[in-house]
Symmetry: C2
């Protein structure tokens, strides 16, 4: 059955690979699963047809036959369950890889996403300049703890897993601010992720969308 | 093998059941798995012995023989994988239950947790009063979408699942502010969760910890 995911018609990052469809593309490439992409505009994301697929009006989604999924973490896990190289089939290593998936999305990403609130959503507010260092401090606290756990290992728990896929993806969002590069071991970890052929293919595919001419209105 | 989880020696909520160990206790009670609890103080949470178990210095953790896990979502999933009533063993229903687990923790909870930042972490800042309605508005937007998807169903996708367990737990954190009760269908959904015998046992167990005398220093 054909796998179809959704992605932004135009990503707010202009093709830097930070939109969440890149994470799903990466997992599909690691698993060797072909997929199709349906592009959605910001307007269409909030309309009934898309809300029927994604109740929170976001991308990506995943459709395969009768199955419809949303939430990047859940989609990556669904793909990883078919790919033992992303997620061991059972045993302690499986549980630990899942732990890092949740750690990426629930503990490390939230303070990083708060930068978007400070700089853009509330970018015109008088508290912006005073709040920014507070938020940056919370990000540094998390990255310090993550770097301590990673140590000099290549990946977070033995071989590369879906946990690393999501953690690298989350850390990429801390690079434009300069915060990632304050932690050389984490910057090198991200670079190892980016060097994987599957990531390269995923990145190129999303870039092609974001540099293609928009369809005529 | 004995399952041991960690919990606050004293929860900041004084026993209202909002600390994350309640979610793990609830899952263990649904699965009928006995467990022990090791209480940790705020000081001990940031020390090396606890950081070896939880790299981000939080609770809960889960230990069973050689396996050590952190991240509430991952612990609940590990428990649910042994309990088909929490997570179907395979098929589309399994993937959809996992979707709701991630939706609870990644899409619905982050704006709710931001209330803690506004009211407490940045509670002494001059922007508190002006930021509060902005954050409340983001929570209402999510709850509106969630209520639209739930409709008049009892649970999010057919039978009760680990997705409901986490969503109810997340929504409970929006009750003290009054925001949950602005959405009667969601308040009723939370009440259905709270009425489950497994939740009642989990709540009572955490309350007993928080009302017991503290050990002598």
């Amino acid at each position: 059955m054909t796998i179809t995911i959704t992605a932004f018609e135009r990503s707010p990052d202009g093709g830097k690979g930070l939109a969440r469809d890149t994470r799903v593309r990466w997992a599909l490439e690691e698993a060797g699963l072909p997929y199709e992409v349906r592009l959605v505009s910001f307007r269409a994301m909030k309309e009934a047809a898309h809300l029927a697929v994604h109740p929170f009006g976001q991308i990506p989604t995943y459709e395969e036959g009768e199955l419809t999924l949303f939430e990047t973490g859940a989609i990556v896990m669904h793909i990883a369950e078919r790919c033992p190289a992303l997620l061991p089939v059972d045993g302690d290593a499986r549980a630990r890889a899942i732990t890092w998936m949740f750690a990426a999305l629930n503990t490390v990403e939230p303070p990083i996403l708060e930068l978007v609130i400070v700089k853009f959503v509330e970018g015109d507010k008088p508290w912006k300049d005073e709040r920014l260092p507070l938020v940056e401090g919370r990000i540094r606290a998390r990255l310090t703890q993550l770097a301590a756990r990673l140590g000099d290992a290549d990946w977070l728990d033995g071989d590369f897993s879906a946990g690393d896929l999501l953690m690298v993806s989350v850390l990429l969002r801390a690079r434009p601010s300069g915060l990632l590069n304050e932690f050389p071991s984490l910057a090198a970890y991200v670079a190892r992720g980016e060097a994987r052929p599957a990531y390269q293919r995923a990145f190129a595919a999303q870039l092609a969308v974001n540099t293609a001419p928009l369809p005529a209105a």
